[in-house]
Amino acid sequence: MRPLREALASFHRAPLLGALSIGTIGLSLLIMGLFALSAHNIGSAISDIERRVEVVGYLVDDVGEDRVAIAREEMLSYPEVEDVRYVSKTEALVNARRDLVEFSDVYQGLDINPLPASIHLRLKPGFRDPDAVQEVAHRLSGYDFVEEVRFGEAWVEQLFSLRKMAGVAAAVLGGAFAIVAVLLIGSSVRMTILARAEEIAVMQTLGATEGYIQRPFLVEGFITGLLGGLVALGLTRAGFWLFTRQFAGFGRLSWLPDVWIIIGLVAASILGLLAASFSVRRELGKAYAI
């Protein structure tokens, strides 16, 4: 209870310094917040595209629907497969007439339906990479009633490269922003500890234990980190609102998932705590040569 009381008293004694620290941490974490928002939306956009990855097997004519049904059950048991959809010859023609409007004349008045029936396999997330797609395509082509298999090989590979590039960019940029945030938070917390260096020195001289001295600073660091995180969250939300308002035609942008927000706030609090721990230990070390 004393550490919390002392930490709150410290904010009360030096409200400007406290506000400055929280503001600095808030702005440092705002960079992370905006980065997380961008990464989340880019990731969502790529996932949306990836969801369209499917392996299509075109079937020979006159294959019995009961054979297709049995094969469909088998395909659904593949670990990579999320969904299997059968499109009959009739459905294929209806779809073509609907989707390919510019060729509507071609599909009118036909005596024979030239389009094959097909079977469409959608893959689960995590199995939308070229290797998994190739593997499923290979298995599908093993059925004797499957005449041809298509999955847009070049497109899948490009998509996978894009995902990899986005991942690397996120890791590098995210890491760099995180380091900047850690340094700024460290300096900010250190500023509040330096302001009380004399008090720390007096406590050491009097024989206070290191734990006794440290605890209020750790609580203060934790609270400062949490409040800084909330400031960053508020600023990120305001930035998101402004952006979506100004650029309404930009497309559908989504706000951060709750779990990201919780992780961000916990990380901000822990960063504040670690920065305080590091700074106060450094300050304490000055008076302990033992």
């Binding site: 009097l206 006794y212 302990y288």
Partner: protein
């Protein structure tokens, strides 16, 4: 109680601050530690307070030895060794009583005991009427008395004073010295660093340890050949 055995303290850049010093300060003893600025007085006091450790030799304070003491034991050493600074080091935002209470709080005294003990300590140093004054409202001598009361809060066995009269006028200095004398009569050891020769001459019966360029050149309690 405090024993130095062939203690040398060297700093990487400035070299030896004190060199091969041996002496013993007994229980309830009063001694002056003197020497010019830079002679090593403060380093010697810091060694007793375990703020720094010897490069060679060993320092014994009560049952703690500089060679064997653990970092977590240092606070206990410091509670047994009261420290009085020339520049007071009082917390300006606190009153005289609160500064003393602060010392009691940080060393874990029960809350119910603090008020009574603060009053007793303020009375002991003659500042009962100034309990609610902040340091800026006190004279130099009064501030030094608050520092002494604060140093006494942990019931130390020895008081170290680093030029405690350095910032005081002669009358206030005399008052502070008299306070140390009274504490000493009550059984507390006192080691007072000062370069005030007049003060030392005025107390001819008091033991004097004199440092020069980091060496103990005179210990009035020992024949000169033993010091060397």
């Amino acid at each position: 109680m405090i024993r130095f055995r062939n203690v040398t303290k060297r700093y990487p850049r400035t070299g030896a601050a004190i060199e091969n010093i041996t002496f013993h300060l007994r229980k309830a003893e009063f001694a002056f530690l003197t020497g010019h600025s830079g002679a090593g007085k403060t380093t010697l006091l810091r060694l007793i307070h375990f703020q720094t450790s010897p490069t060679e030799g060993e320092v014994q304070v009560s049952r703690y030895n500089s060679k064997r003491v653990r970092r977590r034991q240092v606070p206990d050493v410091r509670r047994r060794v009261g420290f009085v600074f020339q520049d007071f080091k009082l917390l300006e935002r606190l009153t005289a009583a609160e500064n003393i209470a602060f010392a009691l709080e940080v060393t874990g005294t029960a809350k119910r005991e603090i008020d009574g003990k603060v009053q007793r300590l303020l009375g002991q140093v003659g500042l009962a009427a100034k309990a609610r004054s902040r340091p800026e409202e006190l004279s130099g001598g009064e501030r030094q008395r608050v520092v002494i009361a604060r140093a006494l809060a942990t019931d130390p066995i020895v008081l170290l004073a680093d030029e405690p009269t350095g910032n005081l006028d002669p009358r206030a200095a005399e008052g502070v010295l008299e306070l140390f004398r009274n504490l000493n009569r009550l059984g507390m050891a006192v080691l007072m660093a000062t370069h005030d020769a007049t003060l030392i001459r005025a107390n001819p019966d008091t033991r004097v340890l004199e440092l020069e360029h980091g060496k103990l050149v005179c210990d009035s309690a020992q024949p000169p050949e033993e010091v060397a």
